[in-house]
Symmetry: C2
Subunit: 241 residues, 2 copies
């Protein structure tokens, strides 16, 4: 279990994709940061804001979304403990998306300049951070495929598989998801009504199970199959150390 008062989870996230040396780890843990607490559905950053901080989830969950002209809202990413929210802001001066908490959440706010300086000083940190950035862009493209090419059940199954695997439940534990059906709708480009109907149908067929604290995996193998889920796009290392 990562220490949720430090950047330990950030290092663990890096280790999903990269080798991180002990000295690089120590340097990351020595980064100064502010702890930011947010209630459910609270803004972290807004489109157009100046990019001063990079955020890392300490506990809870956050999302990135973009609004379009017609009032539509598309969630573009979910961030769980250890995930950086906005590495892109290391290279851009203005935010192009909104960042929001999905539930009560604590974040580490690292000064952009501090992280840039550390990356300039330490090649290993730079590579690990940029690899996360590259992986996140791969995940983002998978979401485009999800909403562009797949029907409702497939979209939902795929999203739920991703959340399980990223959450460390490699084969789909019974641990329930903590996203609402509204969140699923906003992430998959469906209406909440249709998400509900589809989830119900998936429960009836045993793909999903309903516990008291939310929906959980019913049959992981079939869920992966239905979702067309192939975790290669997550670029997980074979042997995390």
């Amino acid at each position: 279990m990562p220490n949720t008062s430090t950047l330990d989870g950030f290092v663990q996230r890096m280790r999903l994709h990269s080798h991180v040396s002990d000295s690089d780890e120590a340097a990351i843990l020595a980064l100064p940061f502010l702890v930011i607490a947010r209630d459910q559905f609270a803004a972290i950053m807004r489109e157009g804001d100046e990019t001063e901080f990079c955020f890392v989830v300490l506990s809870g969950m956050a999302e990135r979304h973009r609004l379009d002209q017609n009032g539509g809202k598309q969630i573009l990413a979910f961030y769980i403990a250890g995930d950086p929210l906005n590495l892109d802001h290391l290279f851009l001066d203005l935010a192009d998306d909104d960042l929001r908490s999905v539930r009560a959440t604590r974040l580490a706010a690292i000064r952009r300049g501090d992280l840039i300086a550390l990356m300039a000083a330490r090649r290993g940190v730079s590579e690990a951070a940029l690899r996360i950035f590259a992986v996140d862009s791969s995940v983002s493209r998978e979401w485009t495929v999800n909403v562009g090419q797949r029907d409702a059940e497939t979209r939902i199954a795929h999203l739920l598989c991703e959340l399980q695997v990223r959450g460390g439940n490699a084969r789909g534990s019974e641990r329930p998801w903590v996203v609402s059906q509204y969140n699923i709708a906003e992430a998959t480009g469906l209406t909440p009504v249709h998400v509900n109907r589809t989830l119900k149908a998936m429960q009836r067929r045993g793909l999903l199970a309903s516990g008291r604290s939310g929906i959980s995996v019913g049959d992981w193998g079939r869920l992966e199959e239905v979702g067309g889920f192939d975790r290669r796009y997550l670029h997980l290392r074979a042997n995390a150390d």
Copy 2:
């Protein structure tokens, strides 16, 4: 007009987002590269390939796509002259998407190690390249919004606006698009049949005009409006120098 035998276009692309010094420009132009020629619809890289080269479009057009289980194909990006195709491959060892030419295309293939070395040696080059990477990921997210939230006409209008602006036709010249209706369908998550019907309807209303060499802008202002197009996500500098 960029010199299509050199990396001049790549520097120009950088200058859409960043200031590039003369010495950085000279260093980029001095990078060794191979020229790769491809006919229409020819593979440049495949998912699973090892990442040895970074490609830059010298002339023509390329795309990135991903296939899903059900045979669906989602185009995730179009690349025009000056655009790097795969900066993500600087940080990953295996390709997660397919890269293909959209028509007859010439590419510069730069050894990954050469570009990494230049970026390590020159902060300005590193910043300019990473900023392109960040902008491309913003564009990618806009595509997710496009297929997730907008109806057929809006999606198509938005895509066409983006191609006009990125192609340097700031206010929508009469220069026709060079993508086929199939390409538009694959990029917008629609069927070619429906793309065709929608394009026809847009022509009837004067949004688009049909010349002999393809479809072109009819009414740029209304096209932007219909597409809900706001170019901020492209992160273009106010004054390109």
